[in-house]
Amino acid sequence: MSSPEQWTHPEPGAGPAATAAEPTPEQVIAGLRATTEGGAELTQLLTPEGERLASSPFDSYVADIDATALCELYRDMVLVRRADREANAMQRQGQLGIWVPLLGQEAAQVGSGRALRPSDMAFPSYREHGVAYTRGIDFRELLGIFRGTDHSSWDFQKHGFHPYTIVIGNQVLNATGYAMGQKFEGKVGDDDGEATIVYFGDGATSQGDVAEGFVWAAVYDAPVVFFCQNNQWAISEPTERQSRLPLYQRARGYGFPGIRVDGNDVLACLAVSRWALDECRHGNGPVLIEAFTYRMDAHTTTDDPTRYRLSDELEVWKHKDPIERVRVHLARTGGADQAFFDDVQAEADRFAAELRDFCFNMPDPPPERIFANVYAESSPALEAQREEYLAYLEGFATEDSLAGSSTGAGER
């Protein structure tokens, strides 16, 4: 594959510029598709083998992460993964309509999420359960969306965590606007500045909304970190369907820095996110981060990845597992002993059991909820529609009680 530099400085008379080469079947099988290795530009602090690489320019951003703090990040990831697996299982048992697994993306989400301050704002897409957790949102609060009892329920202001956005790319513009607001209100410019982070996928980078978000953020110097989790797939489409160029390099064309971080390295994700947020706080935003990671499970519980990708690819990525490398590192350096790992596992199992208990007992919302909050100001027409429907339901209740049945309204 020729480098971008060659494309931007073509040799006169050398004929048409080279384009990206197709990966060979061997590369695909080895998980080494054109962009899959991460390349030399990949920022990594902890290797898949659990080795701490020193002398990165980002070291200073994690100088405070001692063994105890690393244990906390490990615990976060284990808990998030355990909850994710439980939710996935509950979908299989019919308790959730669908689940969107984050398996494999724990480091990208926990690392970036833990880099945020309470005064910062995060705009998720729909897979950011790990980020939600770092924003202090009870995992149980995420279930309603997937069980179909609500569209979102947490306190967005309190947690600094916007509702999930399902329409690909929409939230990137919304986040940019929010960040412009932080700037307009003078909350940017020093160590105490505010910042916004927005999450989206590799597929999303093709949407106009994302391109426009980049333009707006650049023009208004908005303090927003564009956090792209490149998990290599947009449902069945590999990243090559979206871009010739490694995604982080897009930033350059818009006039702000872009960086590729090992998205399976929680320490690197924390460091790079802290750096990028810091830039934003000081008025040097925006920044694009491409977290190079892998979607280890299906796109959602309704997806069947065997139709479009080789299982060998997953096997390759299992060696880069985000949790395992931290465990190995902690064990090898004496940062944690077996008792710690056992405790975390036990806590994760309790966490999952609570989640399960809660889910099985979630009540269905009442029918009048359909009509609630459509507008901030009341709508007489809609109120009439609600009254008419509730009266109609009431009719069934009366019929049922006349017939001696205990079935209530809405359970027709």
């Binding site: 329409v167 093709s206 979206q242 139709r307 479009y308 029918p367 359909i370 809609l382 109609y392 069934f396």
Partner: protein
């Protein structure tokens, strides 16, 4: 359509007849269109190897190649905007929108370019683009996966909008839409795609009905129900449910939402005197509003009761645990019939 020679199979049925679901009929209809005209292309997200999230394009990329079945980048404006360019260049692109809720990034291209190209160029440029849109609810999905935005498109001059409700129509209408020289929004009832109960014999040598025509699918005399897409089945079930009580409901499948073919509806209402229009879409400024307006104008002296509507409420689509309330069901349709009769 030329009738192909028909071979008899072992069970005696001609081999040109297959028992199909709506999903499979669409798949075979697309295949037939691609075989008939090599300018027909399919563009969309995940339509290639995966065969689309509903498998409607299953096997097409394998058989026709990546030049004709394109897994596009993830951008609906891109899909529709480039389809317009391809059409100008002489292709007949068929765009798949993954779920109706994701058509809106492409709305600008549809409204500003697709709908107006022929008019602006005084007929000089045609844009024979088909946009396939799985629509409707009842699948227990998260937001943006269960909506019914068809009225927004029917409102736009220059677009044609159709919806199929059974496998025979699915097979033929998609081919007719692709052959049409006008842009066609093709709404597919997603919750019925793989319904075994709706499986029907599709004779691939038959002569299909015209595309932009409604059809009376059940004769009756007490009242008329008019619907399209997924609601046709609801109306047919309602008609069956009250048959024994001596209530005889006529059911009309609109099939074409723009242009509307309301002559059969007028004729029916003149006989029954009562009309109930059924749709999952919100009622405000919708196709059912249009029907009510036109029927009262054409059938004023025949009406025994006002035109009633059974629709989704004028709210966003609710969380799926509440969708059984939102969606018109048999009970709500029959309740409206009772109200019309009691008027």
């Amino acid at each position: 359509m030329m009738a192909a020679p028909v071979k008899a199979t072992t069970d005696g049925a001609p081999s040109s007849v297959q028992n199909l679901t709506i999903g499979k009929a669409l798949n075979l209809g697309l295949r037939a269109a691609m075989e008939a005209d090599d300018k027909v292309l399919i563009l969309g997200e995940d339509v290639g190897k995966l065969g689309g999230v509903f498998r409607i394009t299953d096997g097409l990329q394998k058989d026709f190649g990546e030049q004709r079945v394109l897994d596009t980048p993830l951008a609906e404006s891109g899909i529709i905007g480039t389809a317009i360019g391809l059409a100008v260049r002489g292709f007949r692109p068929v765009c798949e929108i993954q779920f109706e809720g994701f058509i809106f990034p492409g709305f600008d291209q549809i409204v500003s370019q697709l709908a107006k190209l022929h008019y602006r160029t005084q007929g000089g440029v045609r844009a024979p683009v088909v946009i396939r849109v799985p629509f409707g609810g009842g699948i227990g999905a998260v937001e943006h996966h269960s909506e019914s935005p068809e009225s927004l498109f029917a409102h736009i001059a220059g677009l044609k909008v159709v919806s199929c409700a059974n496998p025979v129509d699915a097979y033929w209408m998609i081919q007719q839409a692709i052959r049409s020289d006008d842009p066609v929004l093709f709404f597919e009832p997603k919750r019925l795609y793989h319904s075994g109960a709706l499986k029907a014999p599709v004779d691939t040598t038959a002569t299909p009905d015209p595309l932009f025509a409604s059809r009376t699918v059940r004769r009756g005399s007490t009242a008329t129900l008019v619907a399209y897409g997924p609601s046709v089945k609801v109306c047919l079930d309602a008609a069956t449910a009250v048959e024994e009580d001596g209530t005889s409901l006529e059911v009309i499948d609109l099939r074409s939402l723009s242009p509307l073919d309301l002559e059969p509806v007028f004729e029916s209402v003149r006989r029954t005197g009562r009309l109930i229009a059924v749709s999952e879409a919100q009622s405000e400024s919708s196709i059912t509003s249009e029907i009510a307006a036109r029927v009262q104008q054409e059938c004023f002296y025949s009406l025994e009761s006002p035109v009633l509507r059974v629709t989704g409420f004028d709210t966003p689509y609710p969380p799926s645990k509440l969708e059984e309330h939102f969606l018109p069901d048999l009970d709500r349709v029959l309740h409206a019939v009772d109200r019309a009769l009691a008027w």
